[in-house]
Symmetry: C2
Subunit: 190 residues, 2 copies
DNA sequence: AAATGACCAAATGAACATTTCAGTCAATTT
DNA sequence: AAATTGACTGAAATGTTCATTTGGTCATTT
């Protein structure tokens, strides 16, 4: 068999989206990087957005794998959850494509990119929600609404990492773990 | 004495900023509404931004009064805090000038408006931080970093009100109070 | 001394010209 | 005949020009 053109296209597009973002990536550009005629791209993908969506689906899968790894050991639930949330936000900060997309959503607001970021966030939330549900069932934590809890936990992490850093020196990973435990698990009440 | 022109100007500007936002408000417009010559405005304010800042200072004071009222009764600390945070976000959602400014910051990103919103948020944070500090001193809550705690609490409220509403039916005020207590004060640990 | 509005330079945006780009399809290659 | 290609197209983005608007000043009026 010949070369896998679809793979070449996806790789080229990933490279270009990572470097220039979604809007600034042209199909001609992708075709050139992939060493493929422009028309070939349209034999595999209906349009630019579908190509983008396929790449994002991979990204989401990768992200899920990363998060799931955090739940493998036999640490207490709150530590596993900390690990998972931290990895998710770490991913967002270190993965080139991720960085570029958040930047594009913030600075330009490209609709397709905003949509995709919401899709990612919803996936994360559903994942956390499921973990919380299981933890309630197994009695690891108190009963609570898993959906609300997932939103609260993710936003707490975003607050501790991104919002805090806007005006203050960043917190260390273990500081964040301690704060997470203190606020959400132990509580501030005496 | 004649009419208080400064007051007329401030009232006119407040009206116009509330209706059209900062950028879309012209000094000519303000002068006209205030029934005052344009030059008169510049005898009281160095420029458009200073006029804006003075109005925002009032807004911040008003907001502080609203928040402080929540701490008057003799409810438990977490209930007072809930009341204060809720009032602050309620204010943001019902006060016309506030609404318009958040909209302008989001949709246009006018620098002067973004600055002003940060100023408001910092004021809120400092206020909460102080209340938390006092609560620690008086032994109402466990020891914790008041600054981090203030950020966490405010962001938790924003999550429960604004972020939650993006994908779900809004939570009632007393539901929010219960969630706040459950997550931050009691904790999820068993 | 306080208030004013005509005036100016800079910013804005409407109108038009040009370029870019996503997507198509007839021709070419395998 | 199936897969691949790149020249082509209309629509949308971008660049350009220029008249209008606007923040701020200051000589004149009150």
């Amino acid at each position: 068999m010949g070369i896998d053109r679809k793979k070449l296209i996806v790789e080229a597009a990933t490279k270009s989206f990572s470097q220039f973002g979604y809007k600034a990536t042209t199909i001609d550009q992708v075709a050139k990087i992939a060493n493929v005629g422009k028309g070939t791209i349209y034999t595999f993908f209906k349009n630019k957005e579908e190509l983008f969506d396929e790449i994002i689906s991979s990204l989401i899968k990768e992200l899920k794998v990363t998060a799931d790894e955090a739940f493998l050991g036999d640490l207490p639930f709150h530590e596993k959850l900390h690990q998972a949330l931290y990895q998710i936000l770490e991913f967002r900060m270190s993965h080139q494509l991720s960085i570029k997309l958040f930047q594009e959503a913030r600075e330009i607001g490209t609709p397709a990119v905003v949509d995709v970021i919401n899709r990612m966030e919803n996936n994360i939330l559903r994942n956390i929600e499921e973990r919380v549900s299981k933890a309630i069932e197994t009695g690891s934590i108190q009963s609570c609404d898993p959906k609300v809890t997932a939103v609260v936990m993710l936003k707490l992490y975003i607050a501790l990492i991104f919002d805090w850093e806007k005006n203050n020196p960043p917190l260390e990973k273990d500081e964040i773990a301690k704060l997470f435990e203190q606020y959400i698990f132990k509580g501030l009440a005496k």
